[in-house]
């Protein structure tokens, strides 16, 4: 029994480490090449200015107490994969961003996988955000 518990503990611990490490993994062979990545960010800015700017604003600072910031957002930067799923599928209910609770609703925007990847690549490198995480459409398709 004790061994079994320990095994569960190790599995859980390993899963936790993996979960924490995942967002920080730099793009592997499957990640976009540098010029593709720059092009993706450029397209992502256009997507952002059409679909995101009304709530999160052009400087990514959001609207205090109503729409959370993306610039310097711990919620975004600690788990870009989660952010990608939210862009793709929407989010309802409370989230805590930089210690502040937000309780609104983000509708799924109907973006295609390329647009989701592009806008994520843009916001992860804009307004002082310096995430190493880079998305491709193929990766978003699996979400």
């Amino acid at each position: 029994m004790q061994i079994r518990m320990r095994w569960i503990g190790w599995t859980f611990g390993a899963a936790l480490c993996l979960g924490m490490a995942l967002p920080a993994i730099p793009p592997g062979p499957a990640g976009p090449r540098q010029d593709d990545y720059e092009a993706s960010r450029q397209r992502g800015k256009e997507v952002y200015m059409l679909y995101c700017v009304t709530c999160h604003l052009a400087d990514g600072k959001g609207t205090p107490g109503v729409y959370p910031p993306l610039a310097g957002s711990d919620f975004l930067l600690e788990d870009p994969g989660r952010a990608a799923r939210i862009v793709k599928r929407g989010l309802s209910g409370p989230v805590k961003v930089n210690g502040v609770l937000y309780n609104n609703n983000m509708t799924a925007l109907g973006l295609d996988d390329q647009e989701v990847a592009d806008v994520l690549n843009y916001i992860l490198g804009a307004w002082g955000n310096r995430s190493e995480r880079r998305f491709t459409a193929a990766e978003i398709a699996a979400y």
Binding site: V53, T54, S92, L109, Y143
Partner: protein
């Protein structure tokens, strides 16, 4: 990764439910809301919806509502029919687009016409790529739409997927009005040569009345009734005056309530009380000669969606008030109106969700369609 999503989903749903329960608690004993002039409770009729955008009520007591992703749904005896109604138009369900408003012909009992607005993908032969707002009428036979006729399509199409406007309203003479958004951007708004940011006026079959204000003006879109709007997502006929009222989203700040009058220019984007999303100035002017001032404007924006006037004795102390939904602050605004001026504002049911549609039904109750959580509720006065 989608396994992780599956794991997270219950947690997200649970926290959403908990937030909702908590809100009910804060509204007082047994969920009763004590507002300035009326005590009422919020009856939740349907849950589990996505983005219900428009509602209407049939003479037999059925309710029809749209889901923005393109479904038309029927509610009979308080129960949601499991299948969407067939025969709805193809919509561009992206960004703010999709299946939008729904409205009955004033003589629906005789002619059976139902009107829908929607983001219509570019059709062969149309100018521009992308989509724009269209108006269809059709009849409901069984669980199927028939006799579909597209009676208006805004021109040209745009690739942007926001600012469709989309509210439908009939006046007392039987003309149908459709609100159209500016389709994004601060350009090409102060011209009559396109349908950007206009309210159009049509006969019930889509033909254009010859007494429309710019019917005879060369180069002008003949359907235009009023112009210089940004993104009007609320429209209702004032029962006291018979005039059409609308509200529209400003940019950052500057949401407006206007009385829609023949030929009027409401000024977007030449004048505005708002600034752009990057903080830049769109116009240094809030007023100009030949442009109308709003009845009311909001800074900061409330992101208004849906509106209706209270006419029912069910809410005697609210009679004549204008109810406006807010998406940003997730509440309902009640505006008291006297001589076409707003004399008082009250905020109600804060935190309910992003209100998309506000309708006083023939049964005398006010219904709200809400997103996040997706639901339809009714306000029921209590003693």
């Amino acid at each position: 990764m989608h396994h992780l999503w599956k794991l997270l989903l219950p947690a997200v749903l649970l926290s959403a439910c908990m937030a909702f329960v908590k809100k009910d608690d804060s509204s007082g004993a047994a969920g009763i809301v004590s507002s300035e002039k009326l005590r009422f409770r919020v009856d939740t009729l349907l849950t589990g919806l996505e983005v219900p955008w428009g509602m209407t009520f049939l003479p037999n007591g059925d309710m029809l509502f749209t889901e923005r992703d393109g479904e038309l749904r029927l509610v009979r005896g308080g129960k949601l029919h499991p299948d969407p109604i067939g025969g709805v138009p193809e919509v561009r369900a992206k960004g703010q687009g999709g299946l939008l408003d729904i409205e009955l012909h004033p003589d629906y009992a005789q002619n059976g016409w139902i009107y829908f607005s929607y983001a219509s993908p570019a059709q062969p032969g149309e100018q521009g790529e992308g989509s724009n707002t269209a108006l269809m009428r059709a009849k409901l036979n069984g669980h199927q739409l028939t006799d579909q006729q597209v009676i208006f399509k805004a021109r040209p199409n745009y690739t942007a997927a926001h600012h469709y406007g989309g509210r439908i309203e009939f006046d007392r003479e039987g003309y149908v009005y459709l609100s159209l958004g500016d389709r994004g951007g601060t350009f090409d708004n102060q011209t009559l040569a396109n349908h950007r940011g206009k309210v159009v006026r049509l006969r019930d079959d889509g033909s254009i009345p010859e007494d429309n204000p710019f019917f005879a003006q060369e180069g002008a879109m003949k359907e235009v009734f009023s112009w210089g709007h940004r993104n009007p997502q609320g429209m209702a006929l004032n029962p006291a005056t018979g005039e059409l009222w609308e509200h529209e989203h400003g940019p950052q700040g500057g949401d407006e309530v206007n009385i829609v009058r023949k030929g009027n220019n409401y000024g977007w984007a030449a004048i505005t009380f708002g600034i752009d999303y990057d903080g830049s100035v769109i116009s240094s002017d809030t007023a100009r000669e030949g442009m109308e001032q709003p009845v009311l404007y909001w800074v900061p924006s409330i992101a208004p969606c849906g509106m209706d006037f209270v006419t029912s004795d069910t809410y005697a102390p609210w009679k004549g008030s204008l109810l406006v939904g807010s998406m940003k602050f997730r509440y309902l605004k009640r505006l008291e109106i006297s001589d076409n001026k707003v004399t008082h504002q009250e905020t109600l049911i804060e935190g309910i969700g992003r209100i998309r549609a506000v309708e006083e039904a023939p049964d005398g109750y006010v219904y709200l369609a809400v997103e996040g959580p997706g639901m339809i509720v009714r306000l029921v006065p209590v003693n």
